[in-house]
Every structure is written in C-alpha cells, then in structure tokens.
C-alpha cells in the first residue's frame, strides 16, 4: 500500500556522506581508564549526586537522582570506584564545567539486579516514574525527559511517530540501530503506544536507508503489530525535524505557539524507543548509546559507547587522521564544536564528527545581505531568515521575536544556501540567548520588586498593629480608672483632673504591689553575720521610708530648718 505523503516547504539536499560509516556493524568500545559522567545531560533540573568519592558502584546503579519532575536520573555506566565528584568540562560549546562523577572501571562490568517492569502490574504513572528513574531522555538530540512526553494528550493521542529519518549528513547511528536491533525498537514503540493509548504508529525513515526500512518492516510483520506502519519518506534535510516529519507523514502543520500533541501526534526517536524497551523488558537503565564516528578518520563507523567515555578514546578506535583540528558533536549542519578532545560522550551525542581544515574549510568572509530571498525559500519552518538576521544584527530583539525567532529550529538551511556566506544561525543563537538572558533578568527584577513592596507593606502593617494595640490598651486602662473614679463619691466639676489622679494612684499602687511581691532570694541558710547585716539594712530602710509611701513628704526638706 502506498501511503499519501505530504511535503514541507524549504529544505536542502546536501551530500550525505553516510555510506562510509554504514559498512561495518556496530562495534563495542573497550573500557577507558576513567569515565566522566556529567550529572546534567538533559533538558531540565540538574540531578543531585547520590555517591561520594571512594564509593564502589555497580553498572546501572543510580548516581544522580532526578531533581523535580522535569529532570531525569543518571546511572553508573560500568562497575568500579568513584574517584571524584567534581566539576569537569562538559560537552557543550561554552567549555564550562559541570558537576560530574568520575568512575574508575574495575573491568568486571557487574550489573545491578535488573528487574523487568511489568506494565500490567503498574499504573501508567508508576511506569513513567520508572522511566524517569531509568534516565530515559530523547536520544535524537533534544534530550528532553521522555516520561513527560508519554502522557496521553487531553484530546487523546492519535498517532505516535517514530523518527528514524536521520537526515543530517555523516550521522548513521539510527540507521545501524534499525538494521541490527529493529525488533527491540518495535517493542519499545509498542510500549509507548500502550502508554500513550495511540491509535496507530508511523515509523518514518528516509528512503536513502533501504536496509533499515527492510529490517523494520520485517520486525513489524514478525511482531504482527497491525497498527504499525513503516513509511519511507523522501530524503531531504531536515526531514528528521519533529515538525517536518509530522508534516510529511500526517499532513498536520503545527502552527506557531502550539505543540504537536494538541493535534494528537507525539514523536520519539528510534534510539529512545530502543532504550525504553531495555528499561521495561530487561530492567536496565540507560547507560550507553550508539555513536557515529565520522569525518577525518580512517575507518568511519558506529560504536556502542558508555556515557562518560572521553570522545578521543572513541575516535581513536576509528583512527584519527592527521590534520584534525576539532571535534564536532552532532552533524555538520547543527553540531557544536567541542571545547576539548577529551569531553565525555553524553546522552545527546549522536555523532563525533572529526573535523579538519580540508574537510570543513574556514567559512568565507561574510559579505552584505543582497536580499535575494534564498534563505526564505530554504527555511523549513516558513520563516524569513533575512528579516531575523537584520533584527538580530541590529540587536532589535523585540522585532526578531515578532518575526517568530523562537520557531527557528537552527537547522542551518538558510546559512547553507546563503550566497553572501552569512552565518545566519550564529546570529539567531545569539539573539535567542540574549532574549533568554533578558527575560531571566526581568523575572529576577519583578520578583525583587514584589518582595520589596511586600516587605514595606508588612513593616507598615506591623507598625499600625502595634499602634492599635497600644491605643486599645490605654483606652482600656483609662476606662477602668474612670469607672473607679465614678464609683468614688467625687465632684463632677473637674472630672478629667480626677481621672488623671486616679490613674496615677492606680499606677503607684500597681508598682508598690509589684515591689512587695518580689521575694528576697538566696536568703536561706545564711551565716549569722550576714543575717545581721540584712536585719540592719531592713531597719534602716524602714527608718528612712515614710509610712505612707509618699516621697514628697520626706523629712529631708525640713532638715535645714531644724539645723
């Protein structure tokens, strides 16, 4: 049956360079001397470490726990000893460090006790929690935690799309995975279909991978998965973009500001499906992935690499040719130049592209935009890259956002076709990160303003409450005094004077009562001479104090007259 396919606008057809790395099967990688496992390998919160220096870990043991729901766990890729938990350079264009667990392998590869997960015995929420704790994230490159995407959408999920398009030049890891392990990918897709309660599953593969298509079709018929269909899509970059593949397979064009789930479509990478089957059927968390090594190497190929393996350790197996000046993580269109050769392979690493000046000559100098419109014709997101470029270059970020900068998927088609060699994507990335920084700043300022205003209000309120309390207290004591004054037979002529006097009298009486209420302390069992001193002091006090306690009537004023 020939399915009706749709088209997305734009796109380019660069040379694929895929044949060299697909000649040999997926190969294993010997253990390196050290594995550097960064805790932050996905979108969302950084997991917090569960191990300390000196701990002995088993393969698959959780070493980083998910921090919040938008996060995922990290596991020890092999058994061994933790030699450090410290910041290490991460596989990121910034060259910044991130907290990493450094493990020295013991070479035994001892697994934890792996318990398969029964989908029948567990609720879907429990299964999603298991996937989070097994560290499953999208392996197509976006590394978004998969458990968050496996909730059925509000309107129900109609179609689950498994993305095996793999459109970027040089990269063949999904191709090889589909050729060799199709059955388990299909099993993973079944699990996802069950969790999402999707009606059908469409597996999109670019038509330049006939072996992978055949293997997947065979696996689908072998598993008798009736609602699944393998669809060959035309080879055109970026057919592997989620929105583009959904467009080609279903004809649904996801508009600005919406998600594909709003239209009942969810999309996963083949590698993710494979990893999910590993977790559910074998109880094994995500500790490795298939990585393509290509570019300036003797024997391009695909390797099953443990996370944390230094990139140069993997690339050396393929034989790095002289003249290498950089490693690129990802492909030539969307990849990032790595800050060092020994950065670790992480969950997002689909390809280690070994670069040299011959293979990737330095870009020709950028010249002025001639407004030819080639970029707009090539843009698969239907944007106008030249407008975005002008506004980004002028740092007019508001305007750039008006032209839907954030719908740009950074595929690089515009820069690929630009006759003026303008690095358009660099401008867009710059604009995006500036806008994010500004938004963070603005958010921080808003929070500070709210808190400052709340504090001022609170201080005012406390002051007011204190004053009110004091006023109430004075009013109460005044009322009590005036009651007392009214009870006594007093003249009504100067009532205020009387009440004042009564107040003073009452206060003095209170003070006297308080004075007398104080019992002398530490006066038991004193030696006789001290006891005598106390008696003397008391007598003296009684002699000088007037009997009625009226200080004004003390005899001191009279003494000069007497003398």
């Amino acid at each position: 049956m020939q399915r009706k396919l749709f088209k997305f606008n734009g796109g380019v057809k660069p040379a694929t360079y895929k044949t060299d790395s697909t000649r040999e099967p997926i190969k294993a990688v010997p253990l390196p001397a050290q594995l550097i496992v960064p805790l932050h390998q996905h979108v969302g919160g950084t997991p917090y470490p569960l191990v300390e220096t000196g701990d002995v870990v088993l393969k698959g043991q959780r070493i980083g726990a998910a921090d919040g729901n938008v996060s995922s766990a990290v596991h020890a890729p092999t058994s061994g000893r933790v030699v450090a938990v410290e910041p290490r350079v991460m596989a990121h264009p910034s060259g910044l460090t991130t907290l990493s667990v450094v493990i020295e392998p013991d070479g035994e590869e001892r697994w934890i006790d792996c318990e398969p997960i029964s989908l029948r015995a567990m609720s879907p929420d429990q299964v999603r929690d298991e996937l989070r704790d097994a560290g499953v994230v999208g392996l197509g490159g976006a590394v978004f935690p998969s458990h968050l995407k496996l909730k059925p959408a509000n309107g129900g999920t109609d179609t689950l799309v498994i993305n095996g398009a793999e459109c970027e030049p040089f990269i063949t890891c999904d191709d090889l995975l589909m050729r060799e392990r199709a059955e388990q990918i299909i099993r993973g897709a079944e699990i996802m279909q069950q969790l999402l309660q999707a009606r059908r599953v469409l597996i999109g593969i670019e038509d330049n991978k006939p072996e992978a298509i055949a293997a997947m079709q065979h696996a689908v018929s072998a598993r008798a998965a009736g609602s699944m269909e393998v669809v060959a899509v035309p080879t055109r970059y970026p057919a592997g973009g989620a929105k583009q593949l959904i467009r080609v397979l279903t004809g649904i064009e996801v508009p600005h500001g919406r998600r594909s789930t709003d239209y009942g479509v969810q999309c996963f990478n083949t590698g993710t499906a494979y990893a999910i089957a590993d977790v559910i059927d074998r109880g094994r968390p995500l500790v490795s992935r298939i990585v393509t090594v290509a570019g300036n190497v003797e024997r391009p190929g695909n390797y099953e690499v443990l996370f944390g393996t230094p990139m140069n350790h993997v690339a050396a197996l393929a034989g790095i040719k002289p003249g290498t000046d950089r490693f690129i993580m990802g492909g030539p269109m969307m990849g990032f130049r790595m800050p060092a050769y020994d950065v670790p392979v992480v969950k997002a690493t689909n390809c280690i592209l070994v670069g040299s000046p011959e293979l990737f000559p330095p870009p020709e100098p950028e010249i002025g935009c001639i407004r030819c419109g080639e970029c707009a014709r090539a843009c698969p997101a239907d944007l106008q890259p030249f407008e975005l470029y002008w506004y980004s270059r002028a740092k007019n970020f508001g305007k750039a956002q008006e032209y839907h900068l954030f719908d740009c998927i950074e595929c690089g088609c515009c820069a690929y076709v630009c006759p003026s060699h303008i690095p358009l994507v660099d401008y867009f990335r710059f604009s995006k990160s500036e806008i994010w920084a500004r938004e963070r700043q603005k958010h921080a300022a808003d929070v500070a303003r709210d808190r400052f205003e709340f504090r001022n209000e609170r201080i005012e309120r406390e002051k007011r409450e204190k004053a009110e309390k004091l006023a109430a207290k004075t009013a109460a004591s005044r009322a009590a005094a005036s009651m007392a004054a009214a009870a006594a037979p007093a003249g009504t002529s100067d009532h205020s004077e009387d009440s004042k006097k009564a107040l003073i009298a009452a206060a003095m009486a209170r003070a006297k009562a308080q004075r007398e209420a104080i019992a002398p302390q530490n006066t038991e069992a004193l030696p006789p001479d001290q006891q005598a001193q106390i008696v003397n002091a008391d007598a003296h006090r009684a002699a000088i104090a007037p009997a009625d306690g009226n200080i004004a009537a003390q005899p001191t004023e009279k003494s000069p007259a007497e003398g």
Partner: protein
C-alpha cells in the same frame, strides 16, 4: 449671520462635551512615567542612588529631582535606556553613587554567624532566613546583591560572591564580523 453663530456655538458645545467626557472616561491613573522608569531600574533596592528603593528613585527622576546616572547596579546600559526613554543625553555614572560591579550575591559564613538577626532586618527583599540565636543563611536566588546586609553585621561574616556563569546563563557571542584587508 445668526445661523453661522449658532453653528459655531453648537460645534463648540458639542466638541467641549466630547472632550470633557473623554477626560473623565480615559483618565490616566497614577503617573505612567514612574512605572516605565521603574521597569528599567534593576530592582536591587540597594539605595546607592540616595533614595530608599528603586520606586522612590523612579519617582524622583520623573519629577526631575534626581538625575538618570545615579544607579550603579543598572550600569551604563540602564543609563542609556533611561536616556532613551526620557529623551535626554547619556551621561556616565556618577562616581559618588558607586561603581558598576559584576552581579554578586551575599554569602553568610555559617561558622561565624551569631544569629543576631540584624542582616534579616536590613535585607530589602527578605532573602535572608534565620531566627534569633539561630544561624542565618541567604537564599541566593532571591538575593539582589544590594550589600545592605554587610554593614549591620557585628561579626563581619557576610561576603559578596560574584555569580559565575553556568550553562543555563551562558550566552552565544555576537557573531564576529571579520574585516577584510584592503587589496
């Protein structure tokens, strides 16, 4: 002649009534300029400008009592934005108010803290938690780096630590445009 007078008078009354109605109906509450200025200020609430908070400084700028170059945390960029908004000339930061520093947060040395609560009372955004005779600590996400807690501390246990760049705050550089050498 009379009809012309009547038409003009009628028009005057009608337009006057419309204007009067519009003045009541579309009345602007408060001073929108103060809010616009306040939105540019960094909300550090540090008082380096000589006013007790960002809002009072914004009010002072709007009424012409204060100049636009008195906010060190806002820095040069902030002054430029204020100059743009108010249509004034840019002028460098007034050194009397302080100097522009990288964003920092207060950190309490928890071994030295005696739990006197003086810093808690000084913090304009309630970013310090603690109780009398209990150790205090700064919630770093909420700290604006105003330094107002440094002076009251009797044991000098608070220091300002610059905020480092992380992957989440890292920014792509402005693409460098190479200059071609003349032939």
């Amino acid at each position: 002649m009379l009809s012309a007078l009547l038409v003009m008078a009628g028009l005057a009354i009608a337009i006057g009534a419309a204007l009067g109605f519009a003045a009541v109906k579309f009345r602007v509450e408060g001073d929108p300029l103060v809010d616009k200025i306040d939105a540019i200020l960094p909300q550090t609430q540090c008082g380096q400008c000589g006013f007790p908070g960002c809002k009072p400084y914004a009010t002072a700028i709007a009424s012409g009592e204060a100049d636009i170059n008195q906010c060190p945390p806002g820095g040069e960029e902030g002054i430029r934005k204020l100059a743009d908004l108010l249509g004034r000339e840019f002028k460098p930061l007034n050194a009397e108010n302080g100097v522009e520093k990288p964003k920092s947060v207060a950190v309490i040395d928890e071994n030295t803290c005696i739990g006197c609560t003086l810093c808690i009372q000084a913090c304009p955004v309630d970013a310090i938690v603690g109780a009398a005779k209990q150790m205090h600590t700064v919630i770093d996400q909420l700290c604006t780096g105003c330094e107002l807690c440094l002076a009251p501390c009797p044991v000098d246990c608070i220091t300002m630590e610059p905020v480092g760049e992380t992957v989440d705050t890292w920014k792509w550089h402005y693409p460098v445009i190479p200059i071609r050498t003349a032939a």
